[in-house]
Symmetry: C2
Subunit: 354 residues, 2 copies
Amino acid sequence: MDHAVVMAGGSGKRFWPESRMHRSKQFLDLTGGGPMIVETVRRLLPLVPRKNVWVVAGEKDAPHLSARALGVPPGNIVLEPEGRNTAPAVALAAALIEARDKDAVIAATPADHAVADAASFRAVLGKGFRLARRTGRFVTLGIAPAHPATGYGYIERGDPYREGRDGAYLVRRFTEKPDLKTARRFLRTRRFYWNSGVFVVRAGTYRNRVARFLPAVHRELERALRDAGKRGFRDGLRRAYARMPSVSVDYGILEKEDGILVIPSDFGWNDIGTWRSLHEFLGGAGENVTAGKAILEDTRGALVRSDRGVVAVIGMEDVVVIRNGDAVLVCPRHRSEEVKGIVDEVERRFPDLA
Amino acid sequence: MDHAVVMAGGSGKRFWPESRMHRSKQFLDLTGGGPMIVETVRRLLPLVPRKNVWVVAGEKDAPHLSARALGVPPGNIVLEPEGRNTAPAVALAAALIEARDKDAVIAATPADHAVADAASFRAVLGKGFRLARRTGRFVTLGIAPAHPATGYGYIERGDPYREGRDGAYLVRRFTEKPDLKTARRFLRTRRFYWNSGVFVVRAGTYRNRVARFLPAVHRELERALRDAGKRGFRDGLRRAYARMPSVSVDYGILEKEDGILVIPSDFGWNDIGTWRSLHEFLGGAGENVTAGKAILEDTRGALVRSDRGVVAVIGMEDVVVIRNGDAVLVCPRHRSEEVKGIVDEVERRFPDLA
């Protein structure tokens, strides 16, 4: 069967003041369609049936994880004792899935990305499931780049797979976030895709590669999972996580694996990494994007959000104004990346407001 | 005796969101020294004794007018049924003062202006009292202009009075707010002063000029005041005010009066007409001026005020950010004047937040 693993362990600071120490990005309603994690689950249905949608998140986020709100069975919510990045998260979910369905194919997806065209996303993902099941390979979704973004990792394609009969390419390499010059070169070659972070693979294959490339993660998880369903399992898992390295799927597995496939896709994907990218996702360059009560006078290209009361903006261009709870953020759109630094400062000076 | 009349009937909209429909500028603590009206009373002491300080304000502001907080006798708080601008306000106060002290000289002052050097202000005002008492003339305080402001009215001086023996000049004319070109010309001639709005005159003279230049105001007030201290006085006053024109002292009296004197002064006066002028009063051009919890990163020339929580500003120049209650304002400093328009929009769209 086809299963999905929603990776919800993130804890970004770039959406302060909406994201806080105790409310990460995936639990925010940024695009107006509900919390991003709920959108992410919804986007998978009905391609993946509800009973096969799994959510992996940190224990600390348990209060935000309502199975009812997410629309998945309570047993499909997998809580990690602490964050160890994506490779262990998917390994834990994959092990639980495989225990129930030994032929499972899993599609892993970040919980906090946006997709404009969900139907197109499901069509591509369906292709990914079929390809991963048939070939036993890792299948990634690459996004046709719209501009030379420096905030994304890229996937370089190699030769067409089976002479293009599946609409997929062999992956030549994964790259880190490039500088602007490099990103421009990537676009010119027409051989690079944005790495959407979504991949599909047989659960057994994933387990096998964790054993090969990340033996410490494999060993700790296997040991802890012997007690699955028994008393003492959570304690064992806690000990296992304490000993595990923190490592991403990209770095720990995909960059070492051979024969990975990439399906070029175009479903209006955006990782919504900063307030700037939220603006980009929701509006054009000079457009104002607002949520909540806002009065904008002679203002262009603004992102204005308010959880209560009113925000009035006069005569500003490309500004971000976010009012949430006790905090207000004002910055130029192109400096949204620096919000992270502000959060550190807030934590230091006004810890109750971080 | 010397008396002071603090004119507190204003209802400006340019300090939204701190000023609201039910809290005008004179009741805000803008400079950090307490509500402006309290600062205004304090600035007069001990030149004018507390028992001779009178406050004229609108009935609607009664909840904000604590005689104890103001430090004046409760009987010195004069409530107008509705606003009719400054000429009737001073006429009402002057009549009550004259009834108690027929030789009174009154200094009328706006309740919502700032003065950096209170001692120097009292020295000049003392001179004004002496001059007004001796000559029977209106005496105004003119401010040596620091720059070609377009937000102030100006006083043009004529010849030195008594060959300068009193440090005063005869007033040649009062002018409305000039455009920038005119203001520059004013400065070059060195014959113009900013009109501080403060003037000194015998109470009897003031009454006499109201009778001459504003007979309707005079007639209505005289009739109402016949019942002063009796039952039905407030109702009579309400009827009188309903029939009175709305007219300022400048327009209704000073511009028509001959032989007015002006004392050139320099006590760090600022009418604090907009957020911009508050910034100008409290800081230099490139300085950040903050009140409340604020984090400013790579930001210059900002005015940031927050009544609670924290305001974070990254990478902005010359911006005004005000957070108060349920509202947030963001605008360039030089566009503070337009806040008035925003208030109208808030009143229209979100009346509970105006």
